[in-house]
């Protein structure tokens, strides 16, 4: 942190109603440490619309615009336009949505906004299901997951959507993955994104959910770290949609990650092998993009 030259100040208030060990809360805390007070956060329906506080409270020391579920990127575009027209180009506008609000219902608005080259940072804090509504599957839910809408033997049999590749395909200036378990890397990326004004920047933050994943709250960071260490969630950056940089090479096997979480407890060794193969395949695909 010292080398990133980030002031030691938090813009998250105590007393919010996030679950104990909430990864999404840690994500916000880390992000705002970098972004600072000149930030407007646009939040759609998601866990954070609860965490941020009921009327008349706010959990953040920066302005928040709560907006409808599908509209993060559109509303953020509008805020940006207003600030620009008022001559305020300093303030960073941040869209802050969950995986449902990004991969699913908000995807159209996001795609539209980044194609228009809207000048904002869009953050998807990904807890891999609709957690706020009680753990229903989203298109970010990984293969093998049991949720309340993929119950019993009907656990999710389709892959997680690769949102970073989808965004990189828009050829935006900056797309990156980040993890709350790698705060230095995450904050570096936020700083980089913050300084790349003039267009959309997308950061996909892996934010563990002890409640929804069936992990003890104290292991929230550990599980997020394992996701990176197993290459389940690789840390990398894509500039202009073409220049790939890998930030971490994992080498642990996926069963260590899966077996810590009750959402995967039904998986057989064979299923775990299938997932390992998927992870390997995705990893190889990524390495090819990274290049030599």
């Amino acid at each position: 942190m010292m080398q990133l030259n980030i002031p030691d100040r938090d813009y998250l208030n105590s007393g919010h109603v996030g679950c104990p060990g909430c990864g999404a809360t840690i994500a916000m805390k880390l992000a705002l440490r970098v972004l600072g007070e000149k930030t407007v956060v646009v939040i759609p329906a998601c866990c954070w619309s609860i965490i941020a506080g009921n009327y008349p409270q706010s959990a953040l020391k920066v302005p928040i615009l709560h907006t409808a579920f599908a509209t993060t990127a559109a509303a953020a575009s509008g805020v940006r336009a207003a600030l620009d027209m008022k001559g305020d180009t300093e303030t960073t506008v941040v869209g802050w949505a969950g995986d449902g609000g990004t991969f699913d219902i908000g995807f159209q608005a996001l795609s539209g906004a980044v194609e228009r080259q809207e000048d904002f940072i869009y953050v998807c804090y990904d807890n891999e299901a609709y957690m706020n509504t009680g753990v229903q599957r989203s298109s970010s839910t990984p293969y093998g997951t049991r949720t309340t809408t993929t119950p019993g033997t009907e656990w999710k049999k389709t892959r997680k959507k690769n949102i970073v590749e989808a965004l990189a395909a828009h050829r935006i200036s900056y797309t990156a993955t980040a993890s709350i378990a790698f705060p230095d890397d995450m904050m570096r990326k936020f700083k980089k994104a913050m300084e790349m004004k003039g267009g959309p920047r997308f950061i996909h933050v892996f934010a563990s959910c002890p409640t929804g994943w069936g992990v003890a709250s104290e292991l929230s960071i550990k599980i997020a770290r394992l996701a990176v260490q197993t290459n389940m969630f690789p840390l990398y950056e894509v500039e202009d949609g073409v220049k790939y940089t890998l930030n971490y090479k994992g080498n642990r096997s996926i069963d260590e990650y899966l077996k810590m979480q009750s959402r995967f407890k039904h998986l057989t060794e064979e299923d775990i092998q299938t997932i390992q193969e998927m992870v390997n395949e995705d990893w190889q695909l990524l390495l090819r993009k990274i290049g030599p």
Binding site: M1, D8, D10, L12, N13, S14, G15, H16, V17, G18, P20, G21, C22, T25, I26, K29, L30, G53, Y55, P56, Q57, S58, A59, K61, I64, H66, I180, P183, P210, A216, S217, E218, L219, S220, I221, K222, R225, Q229
Partner: protein
């Protein structure tokens, strides 16, 4: 302002807009477990005979706070530059990092800090000593006696140290060759002890009568005069063997002793190794003859390794039976031995192998099979009513409290154990005067480092270290995700061909950058180094930092436990909330 605008102020505008912080919600009520800061004991410290606070020392070194790091060593040991050279460093064997890649070079770091004290001219680090008016006589200015004087002085006693030789240091000065411990290093550290006010009287060989005289002038006596006489071999022709300890003394005394030919050195201790390596430097070809196996040698492993590298031969399982002269040569008759059952202390017993003997023709024979007290009054008496046997000393109280320490009582005859003896003696005597004979054991027990016999003077004197948990951090309690594999630092040394031609010191002291990067490898097991993970990750912003001190704000802590798990060094604990 137009009328229309003015009227808009009266239009009801109750919207969902925040006015206050969520801080009014005391979410601390959610929690049923409470995390807390609890510094714990590092395994290295528990393994160190003097219980140095190694995890903290390395933490300070990383921060470049060398003076503070040095002062932390000096809390427990007045000889960092000496021990940084000659200690057998059991700390490194216990180091958790050893399980990860390689142990921290604790010994080299201690030497670095010990040396930098003189290079940087760090002034007296312990000031404003108390004076309780009591005087202690200390017999022998070796590491045990000097350590006893050092610690007693810090506790407020006036100490007179009586040394038979004409300079202080004991074994450090006369027994350890200068390629391992240059004399200026030793003198600097002795000077620092003298600077505290310790009076050293050299050339004063005391007799048993002193114990009677002392009653008038002193409140107690510490006997740390070591083993002054080589142990005899009880074999025919023994008188033809050179006394190894005297030989080392003569070398340190500056005598020129050119040697040549093959020389047998009988023994397996550190002295045997020192003698053999000195002989190499003087031009001879030494052969160490030892009655057990190489792995049974009491000499420190790294010393044996160095000796072998330098060209010393070791012949094992050979027990000398007689020495005969043959012209200018000597014939050493040796009984071949074999490994039998284990003896009481776990070492393999060796027994003669049939009646097989062999002979070894050499130019000289040196004996180095051990040492013993030169006078009987230096041996702790038995069967007296008031006698207390501790790990590193024995106290008797007849007319005058007398502490027998150092090599007189230590089972492990190392410099660091000698320092531990002096420290234990100081604490025991002080407790005797403050709280009485019957409280010595309990009081000392309170000052133990972890579960080891090592004692901490910092704890005894009521320093911060007394708050540390006795729990010794195990490897699996370290969060190794926060550490990257990294080889330990290697110090530069004089090339072998050159080093075996002189008594100059072989190893160089680490560079500042080398030392800092090595200290950086330290897990700092159980010791908060202010890494701030707890505060960085806390989702409740419930970790406060004021005056460099972190605290949990239980108004908001939900007890998630992330801070405890993500503490890289196991310096936090979680416990159930008391209702």
């Amino acid at each position: 302002m137009t009328t229309a605008q003015a009227s808009s102020d009266h239009i009801s505008l109750l919207i969902s807009r925040s006015k206050i912080s969520t801080e009014i919600n005391k979410t601390g009520s959610w929690c049923f477990v409470r995390p807390g800061y609890q510094d714990r004991t590092a395994p290295c410290s528990a393994a160190c005979p003097v219980g140095e606070d190694i995890g903290r020392i390395e933490m300070l070194a990383v921060q470049g706070l060398f003076k503070k790091a040095l002062e932390t060593i000096l809390q427990e040991n007045p000889f960092p530059a000496v021990c940084g050279r000659v200690c057998f460093h059991p700390c490194e064997g216990a180091c958790n990092r050893g399980e990860f890649d390689e142990p921290i070079s604790i010994n080299k770091l201690e030497r670095f800090l010990g040396d930098i004290a003189f290079l940087d001219g760090f002034g007296p680090s312990i000031l404003n000593l108390p004076n309780n008016g009591k005087k202690i006589a200390i017999v022998g200015a070796g590491p045990a006696g000097l350590a006893a004087a050092y610690f007693l002085t810090r506790l407020g006693y006036v100490c007179d140290v009586f040394e038979a030789a004409d300079a202080p240091g004991g074994l450090l000065r006369w027994g350890i060759p200068s390629y391992r411990l240059p004399s200026d290093i030793l003198e600097n550290e002795i000077q620092r002890i003298q600077n505290l006010g310790v009076r050293i009287h050299c050339g004063e060989k005391l007799s048993e009568d002193f114990l009677i005289e002392a009653k008038e002038r002193y409140q107690a006596v510490f006997l740390g005069c070591g083993h002054g006489r080589s142990t005899g071999m009880n074999i025919a022709g023994e008188q033809m063997a050179v006394d190894g300890l005297k030989f080392l003394y003569r070398i340190r005394n500056g005598e020129k002793l050119p040697m040549q030919g093959t020389i047998a050195v009988i023994g397996g201790g550190n002295s045997a190794i020192d003698i053999a390596r000195s002989l190499i430097r003087l031009g001879a070809k030494p052969i160490i003859v030892y009655r057990r196996r190489k792995q049974d040698m009491p000499a420190f492993e790294h010393e044996i390794k160095m000796a072998l590298e330098e060209g010393v031969q070791i012949q094992e399982l050979l027990s000398p039976v007689r020495i005969d002269q043959d012209g200018s040569d000597y014939i050493l008759s040796l009984q071949e031995m074999k490994v039998g059952e284990q003896d009481a202390d776990g070492r393999a017993r060796v027994v003669p192998k049939d009646s097989k003997t062999q002979s070894l023709r050499v130019n000289q024979v040196f004996s180095a099979i051990g040492a013993e007290p030169d006078e009987v009054w230096k041996v702790p008496p038995e069967k007296i009513p008031e006698i207390l046997t501790l790990s590193h000393c024995t106290i008797t109280q007849q007319d005058l409290p007398i502490v027998f320490g150092g090599d007189l009582t230590n089972s492990n005859k190392s410099v660091t154990d000698a320092v531990a003896s002096g420290k234990q003696a100081a604490m025991a005597l002080d407790t005797l005067f403050q709280k009485g004979w019957e409280n010595i054991n309990d009081r000392l027990s309170e000052c133990r480092v972890g579960n080891s016999p090592a004692l901490s003077m910092e704890i005894y004197m009521g320093g911060d270290r007394k708050n540390r948990s006795r729990h010794i951090v195990a490897y699996n309690e370290v969060n190794i995700d926060y550490f990257q594999p990294c080889n330990r630092v290697v110090s530069l040394s004089v090339p072998l061909q050159k080093s075996i031609c002189s008594f100059d010191e072989i190893d160089h002291t680490l560079s500042t950058t080398g030392a800092m990067s090595e200290a950086q490898r330290c897990f700092n097991c159980g010791i908060c180094n202010g890494c701030d993970n707890c505060r960085l990750f806390c989702p409740e912003v419930a970790v406060t930092l004021e005056d460099n001190k972190r605290q949990i704000n239980f108004d908001y802590c939900k007890g998630c436990g992330i801070c405890v798990v993500e503490c890289p060094r196991s310096a936090m604990v979680i416990e159930e909330k008391k209702v």
